[in-house]
Every structure is written in structure tokens, then in C-alpha cells.
């Protein structure tokens, strides 16, 4: 759902860019304060994996295709603000090197995929996590649901922007775009949950959103040592 030049109005582009600039400042301040030793290379590796996975378009329905977004994967591994920075870097290079997404729409694309699909979806993940069972299954359930939602929310934001830009009526564009993305979101949920379980199996300390359940103090100590 990388929006090209010409689809969104100047007002929408400028507004999104202003919000994105503000969130970038906050995320950089957070990163300066909190980045641990393992996290600098982890940021690079996560960004590389998401960029690679985004190149794999899979057929969805009726002659359309979709690909992985990765914002919730990054947020689960590194927290929502670092995830935002990762999405921002990926989208900027996709725009400048590959002409994937327009330059005038860059702020809009970062807003959709880094804020709606990233930070906002992560806060929903956190809420789901609080009510889900405090075990691995509950964690993965909350993550899957939020991953599905991240794609749907990003596509809904995209539809709203197109309608505010007088490109199409909301009642036409919203069901068309969000409809396809409810299917793509299922792929997102499966990939995110699969990758995070693999990382949990290999290096649980690299999954920032994963907090060992209070009942298993033993495994917690092991992780921290």
C-alpha cells in the first residue's frame, strides 16, 4: 500500500509529514536513552529482514497481491518507537532507491505503516496482552491479532487519506482497500507469530515485548544471566 505521488493532497502530505517528524524526534530521544548493547545490530538485522520479506508479494484474491509489513514484528522485537524508526528507514529507501511510494507521499506512507500499523497497533497489542493468558500462547495470540490489525489499520488510514484528498468516495475506497488487506493481514499474523516464536526459541532475550510469566522465576533468572 505504498502510495505514489499524486494520490494524496498537499494538506494530507504536509500534515502527515509534521506528525512523522514529531514522532521521529521522540523516537530518537528514546533510542538515545534506552538502546542496549545488543540492540544496535538487532535494529540493523530486523530492518534487513523486513525489507527482504517485503519483496515477497504473494497472490491474495482476484488478481491482487500483498506482502509482509513487519511493523509489529519490529515492535515485538525492539519496542514500538524503534519499530517506527525501522519502518521510516525502510520506506525512505524504498522511495528513493526503488521509486516504491512517492516522495511527496513519504510522510503519509510512514504515518500509515509506522504509526497506524506500528505504534497504534502496538498499543492494542499491549492491551490484548494484558487480558490474554500470561503465557506464550497468550502472548502469541495477542501478537497475531495485533499484526492482523496493523495491516487493516494501515490500509484504513490509506483509504481515509485518499478520500480526504478527494481521490475517491470513502464508501467505495474503504471496503475495496481494507477488504483486500483483511486477507493480507492473515499472512501478516502468521509470519509475525512464526518469526517471533523462532526468535523466542533461540534467543528470548531478543524479544523485548516478551516478559517471562511471573510464575517461572527460574527461566527469568536464566534469561537475565
Amino acid at each position: 500500500m505504498h502510495i505514489p505521488d499524486g494520490f494524496t493532497s498537499m494538506e494530507i502530505n504536509a500534515g502527515a509529514l509534521a506528525i512523522v517528524a514529531g514522532v521521529t524526534a521522540i523516537a530518537i530521544r528514546g533510542a538515545k536513552k534506552d538502546l542496549g548493547d545488543k540492540q544496535a545490530p538487532m535494529l540493523g538485522v530486523t530492518a534487513a529482514f523486513i525489507f527482504a520479506a517485503q519483496m515477497i508479494n504473494f497472490p491474495v484474491a482476484a488478481g491482487t497481491s500483498g506482502h509482509f509489513l513487519g511493523a509489529m514484528l519490529a515492535a515485538a522485537l525492539l519496542g514500538p518507537l524503534n519499530a517506527f524508526l525501522i519502518m521510516e528507514i525502510i520506506l525512505t529507501f524504498q522511495c528513493l532507491l526503488f521509486s516504491d511510494g512517492g516522495l511527496t507521499a513519504l510522510g503519509v506512507n510512514i504515518f500509515n505503516m509506522g504509526i497506524a500499523g506500528g505504534i497504534l497497533s502496538y498499543s492494542i497489542f499491549a492491551a490484548l496482552r494484558a487480558i490474554a493468558p500470561k503465557n506464550r500462547a497468550g502472548f502469541l495470540f495477542a501478537l497475531s491479532a495485533a499484526s492482523w490489525l496493523s495491516v487493516v489499520l494501515a490500509s484504513a488510514a490509506c483509504s481515509l487519506e485518499l478520500s480526504f484528498s478527494n481521490m475517491a468516495q470513502l464508501k467505495l475506497v474503504l471496503p475495496a482497500i481494507v477488504g483486500v488487506h483483511t486477507i493480507i493481514g492473515a499472512g501478516e499474523a502468521i509470519i509475525t507469530a512464526a518469526v517471533v516464536s523462532l526468535v523466542l526459541g533461540a534467543r528470548p532475550d531478543l524479544v523485548q515485548a516478551w516478559r517471562p510469566p511471573a510464575s517461572s522465576i527460574g527461566s527469568r533468572i536464566e534469561v537475565e544471566l
Binding site: 505514489p4 538502546l35 538485522v45 525489507f51 527482504a52 491482487t64 529507501f93 521509486s99 516504491d100 483486500v180
Partner: protein, 110 residues
């Protein structure tokens, strides 16, 4: 030991990412994405324009200029993009981290 482990983890993750680009990306679906499809269906697809920056993007539409073989072209462009993203995210994070605890960490590394 722990240090070795984490390096191995990072190397495996990068190898998997490279494999995705080299092996699978050239075979990825070329159907329009949800947005392009909706734009064509509703009829605003023709209103897409191209800024000068987009027009002169060095690897437009994920293809390396001058490489005839389409699969190879996609792979080269993809690996180049992945390297750019990797180095920027890693280098950027490193720079932020260093600026934060620079005074103490930088001196001790000597």
C-alpha cells in the same frame, strides 16, 4: 560464548533475508497490490504522478540497471537495498548509542 551465539543469530538472520531476496523475490507475485487494484477499479489510477526523484530512482521498480536477466536484476537491486537499510539502521543506532554514553565508553575502548 554468549557473544558468539548472538553473532551466529545475526548471521543466520541475514543469510535468511538474503535467501528470501535471491531465491524467492524473483518469483514473487506480480499482481497489482490492494491499493493499485482499488485505484484501477474505482478509476483514480491515472492520477498517479511521478516526482523527479521517483523518475530518477537508481533502481526503479527493484531492477538493477543494465542487467538483462530479470531475476538477477531483482536480486541485485534487492540485496543492495537490504544492505543500505541494514547499514543505516545499524549505523544510526550505533551513533545514537555512542552519543549517549560516549564519554565513558569511547575512552575505555582504547
Amino acid at each position: 560464548m554468549k557473544q558468539k551465539h548472538i553473532r551466529l543469530f545475526f548471521i543466520i538472520a541475514l543469510a535468511v533475508s538474503t535467501a528470501l531476496i535471491v531465491i524467492i523475490a524473483p518469483r514473487a507475485s506480480s499482481f497489482p497490490d490492494g491499493l493499485e487494484w482499488a485505484a484501477a477499479k474505482i478509476g483514480f489510477d491515472k492520477r498517479a504522478t511521478e516526482s523527479a526523484v521517483s523518475r530518477s530512482a537508481p533502481m526503479k521498480d527493484y531492477s538493477a540497471g543494465g542487467v538483462k536477466n530479470e531475476a538477477l536484476s531483482t536480486s541485485i537491486a534487492g540485496v543492495a537495498g537490504m544492505a543500505a537499510v541494514f547499514l543505516t539502521a545499524w549505523g544510526g543506532a550505533l551513533a545514537l548509542k555512542r552519543r549517549n554514553n560516549g564519554n565513558t565508553a569511547e575512552k575505555t575502548s582504547q
